[in-house]
C-alpha cells in the first residue's frame, strides 16, 4: 500500500547531495541514541562504512546463492491489482520523461552479437506474456500490478547476448541506471514490459522482475548492455544493496 507519510526516494535528494558515499554514520550514530549510550561518537566513519559495504557485498553473494532460477513469484488475480498504483522515482511525477513512441529505438551495446536498434513495433512483434505480481519497494511498502511484454530471456537469446556474462545493465531516459545479475535476467518472470497501467510508469519500455525490489525495475529504458564489469546503479552507487533480491 502507498505509505501515508512516506519519504519518497525523491525526498532524499538534498540529503544525498550532502552525504554522498559516506552515508552511514554522519547523522545516524553521531547524533543517535547509540552514541549517547556508549559515550563514543565513532569519529572514524570510514572504517564503519567500509565494514557495512563489505557486509553488503557479502549479502550480494548470499542472495545470489539463495536465488533459485526455477522458483516463481506468487501471482495474483486481476481483482487484487492495486489502484491507483503508487508512483515512485527519484524525481516528482511531473518530471517524468515524455518519449515519442514512433521515433523510439531501443539501443543495445556490450556483449551482444546483434546490436541493431529495436523499434516498438518490432518489440511488439515478439511473443508477449503477461503477469500480475507483487512489487516490493525498498521503502517497505508493496503493491500488486499487471505488466505485459517480452520475456527478457527470449529477447536476450534473440539478440545473441552472451548469456554467460555476469551483468545486464540499463540506461534510462530519466537519467536513471541500474543493473542485474544474468541469472535473474534469465528468470522466466523477468519481462521487458511494453504494457502497463500508465505511461508514467516507464513508457515506452521498462523492466519488470518480481524477484527483485522495485528500484531494480528500471523504467523509460533507452539502452540495454551486457557486461562483465560491475555497472552499479543510481541507488546502488549511493549505498543500497546491489542484488536486492526478493
Amino acid at each position: 500500500m502507498k505509505p501515508r507519510r512516506s519519504e519518497r526516494l525523491s525526498a532524499f535528494r538534498p540529503q544525498i547531495a550532502r552525504l554522498e558515499r559516506r552515508l552511514f554514520l554522519k547523522q545516524g550514530l553521531s547524533l543517535g541514541a547509540l552514541s549517547l549510550l556508549s559515550g563514543c561518537t565513532l569519529k572514524d566513519d570510514d572504517a564503519v562504512d567500509r565494514l557495512l559495504m563489505t557486509m553488503s557485498r557479502f549479502n550480494d553473494k548470499i542472495q545470489a546463492a539463495l536465488f533459485d532460477p526455477a522458483k516463481l513469484a506468487p501471482t495474483y488475480s486481476e481483482a487484487d491489482v492495486t489502484t491507483p498504483f503508487p508512483f515512485n522515482a527519484y524525481y516528482e511525477e511531473k518530471d517524468v520523461p515524455l518519449i515519442d513512441g514512433e521515433r523510439y529505438r531501443l539501443q543495445l551495446s556490450g556483449l551482444i552479437a546483434d546490436k541493431r536498434p529495436w523499434s516498438l513495433d518490432e518489440l511488439r512483434a515478439l511473443p508477449q506474456s503477461s503477469q500480475i505480481t507483487r512489487l516490493v519497494c525498498v521503502e517497505g511498502w508493496s503493491a500488486i500490478g499487471q505488466w505485459r511484454g517480452v520475456a527478457f530471456r527470449h529477447f536476450l537469446e534473440r539478440v545473441g547476448a552472451d548469456l554467460t556474462a555476469r551483468y545486464v545493465g540499463f540506461k534510462c531516459a530519466d537519467k536513471y541506471y541500474s543493473s542485474i545479475d544474468m541469472p535473474s535476467a534469465l528468470h522466466p518472470q523477468t519481462l521487458l514490459a511494453l504494457d502497463f497501467t500508465d505511461a508514467k510508469y516507464g513508457y515506452p519500455l521498462r523492466l519488470r522482475l518480481p524477484t527483485k525490489l522495485g528500484f531494480k525495475n528500471p523504467k523509460f529504458i533507452g539502452e540495454i548492455f551486457v557486461t562483465n564489469d560491475y555497472p552499479g546503479g543510481y541507488w546502488e552507487d549511493k549505498g543500497y544493496n546491489w542484488f536486492s533480491g526478493s
Partner: protein, 205 residues
C-alpha cells in the same frame, strides 16, 4: 554450591554472558536501524524520532540492519544450542508456572520478592522465554519480508508479505517492551548487573 560457602560462585556461565552482551548489541542495532527503515514507509500514524535511529537515511539503516542480522542470528543460534544442550534452559527457566508468576508479582508489589542470585523467579522465567520467542518471531518474519519469493513458504506462514511486515513490527514492539522492564530492573535491583559481566554472585547467601 560449587566453590564452598565463602568463595563467590558462578551464577552466569561464561557462554551465557558473552552471548547475552553480543545479543544486546545486535538487538540495539537492529531496533534502532529498524526504526529508521520503518520511517521510510510508516505502517501506523507515527514515526520514530530521527535522533533515536541508526543509519542516517534509508540506505544506511538497511546496511546496518542487514549487517547486524547475521550477528543476531548466529549469536542467537549459538545461545539456543548451548541452552538446550548444556541443560542451562532446563535448569534456569524450568519449571514455568503462571501461578508461580502471579504469586511472584503479588510478592513484588508488596516489596517482598527476593532476588536470589543464580535463581530466576517465576516472572523472570516467563519473560525470558517470552523474549526468546519474540526474537525468533522477529527473525522469521524478517526473513519472510526480506525474501518473499525465495522463502515464499515462510512468507505464507506469516500471513503474506503485508501481514508479515506487521508481525515483524509487533515482534520488535514486544522486544522493546521487555527491554524497558528488563533494563529498568537490571539497573535498579541491587547486585544483579555486575554478575552478568563477571559471572560471580556478589555476596554469597
Amino acid at each position: 554450591m560449587v566453590g564452598g560457602v565463602d568463595k563467590p560462585r558462578t551464577i552466569h556461565p561464561l557462554f551465557v554472558r558473552v552471548t547475552h552482551w553480543v545479543n544486546a548489541f545486535a538487538i540495539f542495532v537492529m531496533v534502532l536501524s529498524g526504526w529508521r527503515i520503518y520511517n521510510a514507509s510508516p505502517l501506523f500514524d507515527f514515526e520514530f524520532p530521527k535522533d533515536f535511529t541508526l543509519g542516517g537515511w534509508l540506505a544506511g539503516a538497511l546496511a546496518w540492519h542487514f549487517a547486524a542480522m547475521w550477528l543476531l542470528a548466529l549469536n542467537g543460534l549459538a545461545y539456543l544450542a548451548y541452552g538446550l544442550v548444556s541443560g542451562h534452559f532446563r535448569k534456569s527457566f524450568l519449571p514455568i508456572s503462571l501461578r508461580g508468576a502471579f504469586d511472584d508479582v503479588l510478592l513484588a508489589m508488596r516489596g517482598l520478592l527476593d532476588h536470589a542470585p543464580g535463581r530466576y523467579n517465576a516472572v523472570q522465567r516467563l519473560f525470558y522465554i517470552g523474549v526468546i520467542l519474540a526474537v525468533i518471531v522477529a527473525v522469521l518474519s524478517g526473513l519472510a519480508i526480506w525474501k518473499p519469493v525465495q522463502l515464499q513458504a515462510l512468507t505464507a506462514v506469516m500471513g503474506g508479505f503485508e501481514t508479515a511486515r506487521r508481525v515483524h513490527f509487533f515482534a520488535m514492539a514486544a522486544i522493546v517492551a521487555f527491554l524497558l522492564v528488563h533494563i529498568g530492573l537490571a539497573v535498579s535491583v541491587k547486585g544483579i548487573l555486575t554478575p552478568m559481566f563477571t559471572g560471580r554472585a556478589e555476596a554469597p547467601r
